[in-house]
Symmetry: C2
Subunit: 197 residues, 2 copies
DNA sequence: AGAATATACGGAACACTGTTCCGTTTGGCA
DNA sequence: TGCCAAACGGAACAGTGTTCCGTATATTCT
């Protein structure tokens, strides 16, 4: 931390105290608003919860995606870090892949509307999409490679496609007639079908 | 058709000529607007294309779903009718199921935004959802049953879930990095994995 | 401490879209 | 031809995202 201030180019001008306070307040407000009303809760609602004006939200988080990323960053990081851990933990690579995807699915289905937002082609969610991909694609690719190399699954699939497919299957997971986890399970089972003309 | 007019309760009062004309014009305008800008093109755009006021749209099609259903009804019917045909055409039930799902996927991926609308929990799309389910679930269930009875696929899956899963996988199919057809293929392959602990 | 300045704030205002409503027009009929 | 119910057009309203600027305040300088 200290070495940031001693840098040469830009001394990383510390933000004003009220700004830092508001940012934290906003993160809390957004997190609870997301739980209560989904990730597409109106900006004004979040502002009201936090007791700030809407301008303050846009100043700290220019797009909704930035706010969502900030709120869920910890959990995404945890998911990313679980990949190598699972791979090293003894089972087959394919089992590790399956367990990792379970983690990913658990994360998505418990965040109302997040899967929908992830797949949205709305420009406002582009950076959300990018963040998830940047962080998770390498992890998924590693697991995918390991399982493919072991001959346990087909090898013609990219990590992007798999993540996206799994994310898609999680859309609408709050409908009791639709079990996203089971559908993902079937998809993952299909990965193991290598030659099935 | 003729027997409708000869019915006893309501003589089905024929609509005014301008109303019938406008309805046809609106269907054309909506169809081309959907192709040009997706199924969530603004109402005003459709009205402008058709040369009518927005009120006229709402009078003929109270919700956007009604308009979408009207535009695509023919194609949905064709898909529904293809089910029994495929089942009777000689191959295994599982092959028939796979081909039918191909038809469904082809339909979805060529309608920009339709898959998204189908999965949306927005109340305005409820009747769209209902129509698709009403029409396609029985067909899908028949194919699913036949394949399950033949022991070709797992038997613990409902037609609703399968249709929904396939629909979900078709979301975002216009992204070149994502091949919805391939993902659906993997899902369908997974249906054949009956005991894979 | 008191003044000066950059930073941050609040919320009005604007843009865009869905939806409703009502005064006006018009097709069908006596 | 004259009537009127049906249909029309589009203004008006409502909800939401986004921008902008006058005001307030934390921080720095003297």
């Amino acid at each position: 931390m200290a070495d940031i201030d001693s840098g040469s180019a830009r001394p990383a001008p510390r933000k004003r105290a009220d700004a830092r306070r508001n940012e934290a307040t906003l993160l809390d407000a957004a997190a609870s608003a997301f739980i209560a009303s989904g990730v597409d809760v109106p900006v004004r609602d979040i502002a009201a919860r936090a007791g700030v004006g809407v301008g303050t939200i846009y100043r700290h988080f220019p797009t909704r995606a930035d706010l969502i990323v900030a709120v869920y960053r910890h959990q995404v990081e945890a998911c990313a870090e679980a990949g190598p851990t699972l791979l090293a933990s003894g089972g087959t690579p394919r089992a590790a892949l399956a367990r990792w995807i379970d983690l990913f699915v658990d994360f998505l289905v418990t965040k109302h509307g997040l899967a929908e937002a992830l797949q949205s082609d709305n420009a406002a969610f582009q950076s959300l999409h990018a963040y998830f991909l940047d962080r998770l694609v390498p992890v998924c690719a590693q697991l995918l490679d390991a399982a493919a190399t072991a001959g346990e699954i087909r090898s013609d699939l990219t990590a992007i496609e798999l993540l996206r497919g799994v994310g898609n299957l999680c859309v609408g997971a709050d409908d009791p007639r639709y079990d996203a986890r089971r559908m993902v399970g079937i998809l993952v089972a299909g990965l193991g079908v290598i030659d099935d003309d």
